[in-house]
Assembly symmetry: C2
DNA sequence: TATGCAACTTGATCTGGATCAAATGCCAGT
DNA sequence: ACTGGCATTTGATCCAGATCAAGTTGCATA
């Protein structure tokens, strides 16, 4: 059983995500973040223009819907949620963003952000100013291509999310979110089975198109079936296999729906 | 009431959307399609490399999920639907694409299409091959920027769709779709109140996250309330105002949800 | 003019998740 | 330790839309 790390373990030799002095080349996220696909020397250029590791306290906005597009942001530590405001005035959560992930991309084309981004935890953020994005995009084909990749990825993820919202049951939605968070944490070397949810039940409910009551009840059911242990926002002993099973049974073997319709 | 044109009216002076000989500069869609934001001379360059007005019969695929990214496609006439295949084997409709709209964008980054695209009607398609996209992107900043805009737009549209799926009632979903189609047809100079739905009820249901029965019943209710007349796929006398009202009442005036939460 | 079949409509019933209504737990500030 | 205000849980009830089950209608092919 994996023990939860004491949350204060400050001094690593380098690459501590809270340490603003660490540049992209030494950053332990550089395999999954913006510098991906860049050559050594190009990373050095990126390093020169990036504003590194700015601290963003819980509840502070990175940008707001309608703000002029100023920068792309890479999450270095902590967590960010992006949301829009519905006609009824409440938040529609469009995404959760963990370290190594980039937010603000939808602002690239239209020149202003289409939604807001706010810190869920004390976070550390790297910022690439607009003109630098333009310039690097002009000069480095690899960087430009990576931007296209990130945008495409976002579209593909959104389509997956659309699928979730139109076809998944409440349990499948929760399972899907937990597996996604788990996989993304694991990718950066953290535990896939024990972690803390950075977001409130309200945020989860909004993101999954459910009510908070349903989220609470489904989590309870998961707990009672031994799929995880849970106190407050802490998840332990997540049963990845069982969750995957939960998602896969939804595929009917008697499928006759594969029609070539018009 | 706008009469449906006899579908064979071949010789216009120029800009008939079925006429493959018409280049971007004379195309009546050039204000909303790819050439948007390009200078006269650049449009001429685009014109040289584009494969114009290829006919695509109903039910034929433009590309399939997993195919290598070969080209971007602009719809010149007809209609295209894009979809993915769910775990259960059935289609998840991710979008309907009308003349002037571009499909295949999500293939730009990863190098392969993330979904399939199929003609809902006899359609005419313009194609920009991959290497030309790259080249124009390298050489024309305006074109590159337009690509980013199209991708951003797609993300924003997807977020709107996510909102629809998690918060709208069946009636609101249908109203939203009808208004969207109406507005997009109007943008290209066609009637906003009288048109033919190019897609089946099944496609509508999948796109809106409903069942075909619910789609049918809601349309019936709309018909009975005098919001439209409907036979088969033909819509007439669409009451745009009433549909917009239907969408707006969903905003509660007593909103206390605007909290600055964490 | 039949025939066959997919697309669509209509009706009856069921149900997952929403809604309404109380607790209860968890801090932060005093 | 006490208080106020959230966030979360839990329970009871309700209902929009799903599911199940027949019809119809449109249209293509013989």
């Amino acid at each position: 059983m994996v023990r939860k790390q004491a949350s204060a373990a400050p001094q690593k030799k380098h690459a501590c995500p809270h340490n603003a002095a660490v540049g992209c080349s030494q950053c332990r996220l550089n395999k999954i973040c913006l510098p991906l696909a860049l050559e050594e020397e190009d990373i050095a250029r990126l390093d020169q223009t990036i504003k590194r590791g700015r601290a963003l306290p819980t509840g502070k906005h990175l940008y707001r819907e309608g703000d002029a597009f100023k920068s792309l942001y890479a999450v270095r530590s902590g967590a960010i949620k992006t949301y829009q405001i519905s006609a009824g005035g409440d938040q529609i959560i469009t995404g959760f963003h963990l370290p190594g992930e980039v937010v603000g991309l939808e602002g690239l084309g239209p020149g202003q952000y289409a939604g807001s981004a706010i810190a869920l935890d004390l976070s550390s953020i790297c910022e690439i100013p607009f003109n630098q994005v333009e310039q690097l995009g002009n000069q480095l084909p690899a960087f430009r291509h990576h931007l296209f990749s990130l945008l495409s990825r976002e579209i593909v993820d959104d389509h997956q999310h659309i699928n979730l919202l139109s076809n998944y049951t409440a349990e499948e939605r929760l399972a899907s979110l937990l597996l996604s968070l788990s996989a993304r944490l694991a990718r950066r070397g953290l535990s896939a089975t024990d972690f803390r949810l950075p977001m409130s039940r309200t945020d989860i409910a909004s993101y999954l198109g459910l009510t908070i009551e349903t989220v609470s009840r489904v989590l309870k059911r998961f707990r009672e079936s031994g799929l995880l242990t849970l106190n407050n926002r802490n998840i332990n002993d997540l049963d990845l296999c069982a969750l995957k099973d939960l998602l896969e049974v939804s595929a009917p073997s008697h499928s006759a729906t594969q029609n070539g319709d018009r």
